[in-house]
């Protein structure tokens, strides 16, 4: 697959936290991910672009162990994690912000945050992390007793990010963090993602809003029908004509990449 530029070359990227090597994933007979390679370096923000049904959500599920790959290697922090159950991955520091938030709707905001720390026993540190979440999202603190299902979409996204941070993750996996949010809120969410990243958490992000995603990412991958067709630094992807046409809405009006719709 083409690498767009040598700046930074793979060797100049930080050492890997998460790595996919030749990963193949199936849903029954359906071959979803085809010989996929990804790499998230320590401290990086990496984004994954692609149209509908191209394998983005399957990528997320594969990282979390909800879907197991048929072949290939997934390594995290130097360890092969192909067969590790989801709970163990969360314990080792992989936390998801799932697509459509997936809060527990009939639990309070506070309970949702506490569920994020489910795999931890260090009560004092959990309290400290709660304060950290309130620092990032002061609005959450006003809503602690409210049922999560009654929050607005933007507030739910804050709680979903907060819940993931309660696991004290090294790698935050965000599936469409901007989906269904107002433009002002999208802006705010991306600011927060950068703050979280600067505090030391690596971020792997699947995002339809390519413009926003590439503006904060270090590196990006483009997925089409289960294959990585392009990857490179965020800057190089933004300059790439095909990416501009297909994802950044420039030059042509049609937003969908070849073969990425209606499958």
């Amino acid at each position: 697959m083409p690498i767009l530029d040598e700046q930074p070359t793979p060797s100049q990227r930080p050492p890997p936290l998460l790595e996919f090597k030749d990963v193949n994933t199936y849903y029954g007979e359906l071959h979803v991910l085809k010989d996929v390679d990804y790499r998230v370096g320590q401290g990086e923000i990496v984004c994954l672009l692609g149209g509908n049904a191209c394998g983005k959500s399957t990528t997320m599920k594969t990282i979390l162990g909800i879907v197991k790959p048929k072949s290939g290697t997934i390594s995290y922090a130097g360890e092969r994690i192909n067969d590790l159950p989801t709970a163990q991955r969360v314990k080792r520091g992989i936390a998801p912000v799932p697509e459509a938030r997936r809060l527990f709707p009939r639990m309070t905001v506070l309970e949702n945050l506490e569920m994020g720390a489910f795999t931890r026993d260090d009560l004092v540190e959990i309290e400290a992390d709660k304060e950290r979440v309130f620092g990032l999202f002061p609005r959450i603190k006003e809503r602690l007793k409210q049922q999560a299902g009654t929050l607005s979409g933007g507030e739910q996204q804050m709680v979903a990010i907060g819940r993931a941070l309660m696991a004290r993750p090294k790698l935050l996996c965000m599936d469409e963090p901007s989906m269904g949010l107002s433009p002002a809120f999208v802006e705010q969410v991306f600011d927060i993602i950068q703050v979280i990243n600067r505090q030391g958490t690596s971020i792997f992000m699947v995002e339809q809003n390519a413009n926003m995603a590439l503006s904060i990412a270090n590196y990006g991958y483009v997925l089409q029908t289960g294959q990585v067709v392009l990857h490179g630094s965020a800057q190089s992807l933004r300059d790439n004509e095909m990416v501009q046409q297909a994802y950044l809405g420039e030059m042509k009006a049609e937003p969908a990449p070849v073969g990425a719709n209606g499958e």
């Binding site: 979390l64 909800i66 709970a87 969360v90 998801p96 459509a100 809060l103 527990f104 489910f118 819940r163």
Partner: protein, 309 residues
């Protein structure tokens, strides 16, 4: 007895039956809540529970109702029998989950539910073969002490059974609301995949749910024996079906709903038996079920149909 005395007496009887149905309904509703399975084996876990309790009492030297205790010894024996019965039934429930249902996890369609019917038949026939088809005279250490208020009789055993049921339900409620594992259960009931993604070990939650539900069924089986002074391999069906109705009536998957549904079914049984006719009891109960399903499909306390994506 005046009309009011009869009504009050039947309410007392109804609440006693209702407490038993509530305990039994909880197991249906908890298992349905987390894995959307109607567990028909639960009927006969209840029946086996009543036998475990009877055998435990016999092993302690009680036979029939002649040997009664009072005060602390009674409390001690009751606690011991409840603990043994609930542990035994709970382990039976876990074994059913582990060996009959877990291999079918993820199999779509009705296979797991049909399996629970099969397991139910196995338990029924094992007890039939092992213990015989005759009704058993239940070992019961509770005295016949009763208080009479006008025309109304309140028996000590009823007060004790209410107390025990209440303690168990309050404890369950505390577990589900306040403890980490209880919260994991609720989280899983609300969104199984999200629960997995925060690191909840789904298999463990399922095991604990089966254990608790079956332990409560065992407690209900013991209460059945202590209340009616008999048990038999047959008791699972009638009581089980009524308790299942209670769970649906309250809103399947909803814990307070199962408690309420149980008491409602108990009251219908006692009041219907008094004012209409005993042979109409089941017709009334199941007509209620049909009505609820037609008019309010999510049950009395149930939420509008859950949306799943």
């Amino acid at each position: 007895m005046s009309n009011w005395d009869i009504l009050l007496q039947q309410i007392i009887n109804g609440v006693s039956l209702g407490a038993m149905y509530s305990l039994l309904a909880l197991g249906f509703t908890m298992v349905y809540g987390i894995i959307e399975l109607i567990n028909f084996a639960h009927f006969n876990v209840f029946m086996v529970g009543s036998f475990i309790a009877m055998w435990t009492l016999e092993a302690m030297g009680f036979a029939g109702q002649s040997h009664v205790l009072y005060g602390l010894p009674l409390a001690g024996i009751l606690i011991a029998v409840f603990v043994v019965t609930m542990l035994g039934s709970g382990i039976l429930g876990v074994a059913i989950e582990r060996f009959a249902l877990r291999p079918l996890r993820g199999v779509a369609g009705t296979a797991p539910m049909i399996t629970t019917i099969g397991v139910s038949y196995i338990l029924y026939n094992v007890v039939l073969l092992g213990a015989g088809a005759d009704s058993k005279n239940y070992s019961n250490p509770m005295p016949n002490t009763a208080w009479i208020f006008g025309g109304v009789t309140l028996r000590l055993r009823e007060v004790l059974l209410w107390t025990i049921s209440l303690v168990l339900m309050v404890a369950l409620n505390y577990f589900v609301r306040r403890t980490k594992m209880g919260k994991a259960m609720r989280a899983m009931a609300q969104d199984q995949e999200a629960a997995r993604m925060v690191g909840i070990d789904v298999d463990r939650v399922v095991i604990i749910t089966f254990f608790l539900g079956s332990a409560l069924a065992g407690a209900a089986g013991l209460i059945f024996g202590l209340y009616y002074n008999y048990t038999s391999y047959l008791i699972g069906y009638t009581s089980g079906l009524r308790a299942f109705t209670a769970a649906v009536l309250g809103g399947i998957g909803n814990i307070p709903g199962a408690m309420l549904g149980g008491v409602v079914i108990g009251l219908i049984e006692s009041l219907g038996g008094q004012y209409i006719a005993v042979r109409w009891t089941d017709i009334i109960i199941f007509s209620m079920l049909v009505l609820v399903l037609v008019l309010r499909p999510s049950g009395l306390l149930g939420r509008a149909a859950p949306t799943r994506s």
